[in-house]
Symmetry: C2
Subunit: 452 residues, 2 copies
């Protein structure tokens, strides 16, 4: 939309064949980029490819059912609901499919029963009152059900069921005033529900028996992998930062494992997996009542640890920039203790990850002892340096506060950028004017640009 | 399922009327709890109540359309799709409704065209080859479309459209082999699409014109509110922790603003709002091309700041437990500087939040100057205390590492709890045996219980 961008201007001065080949190259690069992305998505988790074929298979199966039912002319139009069910219910994980399938089935049953009931009551109101009463019922039930979706517990487990409940109730209540024959209505309900059950059954069989993806297993592996990531950060820190070759090189230049950063934002993923895992039947080493909630606790503590790592890492990277050679002396002194601490911690976490992986009771007591010993040594060696621990603690608090404070200018800059991009009004012209008084009368946008 | 819980045992020894009244009380408490929760959900955001009534209204409106269309017998069975569309498309935010509505409309159009095309090709294969060819088409398209949902960009914006695409294509391709008449097929397609468009139009009109909830506005307010939370933490820290009444009281016992904790996990919420906001037309102060991405950048930096706060807070709470009176002396010395720093930072952040709220260019230069001055003073006063800054930095790194290390025992404990709950195998009997050699031959489960 906007001109004035250097790149667009340049193109317009080129002959047309050049700009054509440029556009073609751009297109080619986009296609290659997309192909690479698609390949990466498949390579990252080959189960995704399998899942795609599973969906295709389930749909073909339900189409077959549709053909056959058409031959016997039993279900005819209702058979469409089986196809619809397969498309909507089929999810990546078994838990997802099961949760959606059960939600769909039971919500349909409940809503159909209520819809028929509402219809019977509405009949009592006479021919004229009936549509109004039905409309009122639909209005009230839809409003109540929609509101219930805002309750977190219902949102987490029954969100889809509530949607289907509203849908089925509206359909039954509204359409039933034409098929007043109770027998016909029951037959229709029976057909609808059996096609839905058939659709759900096809989905479940496909997702459980063909290369199943269990949400519980994924959660189990995710929690273990997150511990592993924390461990490799600590081991890397021990080896590289506190290692033998302590030098003036920058942290960033080294291949330092920063995988722990993905742990920081793992909450929503873990919670949705735990929600789905609760629906799953026992499988492999996981019973039906496997303590999935405990995984969330381990996950929360891992995140807490990752926050501390983030603070440590940001402190290290900030200070490496202003590092003096003299600074390295003390680091060398305590580096062996720090190295031991972080490597032992890394080992302990790795062992925990392995113990979750193999589902064996962890035996990390010896690591705990080593860590405690190293911590004591560290405190002692710091006091030897002539810094009383009480002064040190206050100094650390102050430094951590500085760390928080250092975030503020960055936030300021990003909000200023936002103000520029979103063209916020400029109400402080006087303040700005002190910087460049000549443009006092100019447009605010220009003033900001000049200031940058 | 398990007995052995004290509470259940107790009840079984009581006479039946007591246990009945106990059960009744429990039920009553649950109902009261639910009622309180429902009230809280509505009170937290009254727009939820409005949204619920909006859904009810839209559904009543579409039912009315259904009645009228039945009178004129124009759409008849297709009218059901209008009801279905309203239930599925109506979302809390305008962006959500618009994204689903557009996805549904265009996916239906594209899939219907492709479905008819596939059907024409399949006819060429003769009567016997037709169902097989159609089945193959469904299989391939469903697999390809399902796979495309794993590509993050498509997942974020077109997930619902892909589902509808698969659904419509399957329905058209499968059912078209019965309605071979091209004219009839076109009429059916026309009816289907116009009912969907009517459904989408009802949803859009309701969500835009009756108390609209804009995702963009919510994102705007969320980012400002998060800055506000960070600000109140800093101000509270300045007032309470570094305030005049520096005493031995614990941090936890005071009403200390810990709202910043919710900023830690704001990522997924912000991202989904930004995704929806991109669909929304210009509204209020927000243009169509409002820089929503910049909000995500501000949000990411706010989270970074919250991580540092978390590190500071966990350091403070850990150390307050082991605080000695002597420790308070130095704190008093630097507390005025720290107080100034945190209060000024808090003010700067509050001003940023206000500037976003009022959409005016922020003018926080003076705060920046004050913060820089306070930081310099702090460094100077720390060096006055006889701690050279180079030694301090190394000591801080070591302390931050200790902070990370202190997370490990908690993680160990939580994994041990998991091992107990999930009944992990015990492969280290020898190791455990040193604790209680007598149970060497006993079941592993017992050994663990004894150890606790």
């Amino acid at each position: 939309m906007e001109v004035g961008q250097g790149c667009t201007d340049e193109i317009s001065y080129l002959p047309w064949w050049s700009s054509l080949s440029l556009a073609l190259n751009k297109f080619k690069a986009k296609v290659v980029g997309l192909a690479k992305k698609v390949k990466k998505v498949g390579k990252d988790d080959p189960r995704r490819v399998v899942h795609s074929f599973k969906v295709g298979f389930a749909l073909s199966l339900v189409s077959l059912f549709y053909y056959i039912s058409a031959l016997f002319a039993g279900f005819r139009t209702s058979a469409i609901w089986a196809v619809l069910t397969v498309v909507v219910v089929m999810e990546y994980t078994v838990g997802g499919t099961l949760s959606k399938g059960l939600n769909r089935t039971f919500a349909t049953l409940l809503a159909a029963a209520l819809g028929v009931g509402a219809h019977q009551i509405a009949i009592l109101a006479g021919e004229k009152g009936e549509p109004f009463l039905l409309g009122l019922f639909v209005f009230l039930l839809a409003a109540a059900a929609t509101f219930s979706r805002f309750i977190p517990e219902i949102k987490a487990r029954y969100d889809y069921g509530v949607t289907i409940f509203i849908l089925t109730f509206s359909l039954v209540a509204v359409s039933s005033n034409r098929t007043v024959d109770a027998f016909e209505l029951l037959q229709l309900a029976h057909q609808r529900i059996s096609t839905i059950v058939i659709g759900v059954a096809i989905c479940l069989l496909t997702s459980v028996f063909i290369c199943p993806v269990w949400a519980g297993e994924d959660l189990h592996k995710l929690v273990a992998a997150n511990l592993e990531k924390l461990a490799s950060f600590l081991e890397g820190l021990g080896e590289v930062y506190f290692g033998d070759k302590v030098g003036g090189e920058r942290m960033e230049s080294k291949c330092f494992p920063q995988a722990y950063k993905s742990v920081l934002n793992s909450k929503s993923n873990e919670e949705s997996l735990a929600n789905l895992a609760r629906w799953e039947p026992g499988h492999g080493h996981f019973g039906f009542r496997h303590p999935w909630k405990q995984y969330l606790k381990v996950g929360a503590l891992s995140r807490q640890c990752a926050y501390s790592m983030e603070a440590l890492m940001s402190y290290i990277t900030t200070n490496e920039r202003t590092q003096t050679p003299a600074d390295l002396e003390l680091r060398k002194m305590i580096s062996s203790t720090c190295k031991e601490m972080s490597i032992e911690c890394g080992k302990a976490l790795k062992e925990l990850a392995a113990s979750i992986g193999t589902m064996t009771t962890p035996g990390v007591c010896r690591h705990n002892i080593a860590i405690a010993a190293a911590t004591t040594t560290l405190k002692a060696s710091l006091s030897e340096e002539g810094i009383p621990s009480m002064i040190l603690e206050t100094a650390i608090t102050a430094s951590l506060l500085s760390q928080v404070v250092q975030c503020v200018p960055q936030i300021v800059a990003s909000v200023e950028e936002l103000a520029r991009l979103a063209q916020f009004r400029d109400c402080e012209t006087l303040h700005k004017a002190t910087v460049k008084p000549l443009t006092e009368g100019g447009s605010p946008g220009v003033v900001i640009t000049v200031m940058e």
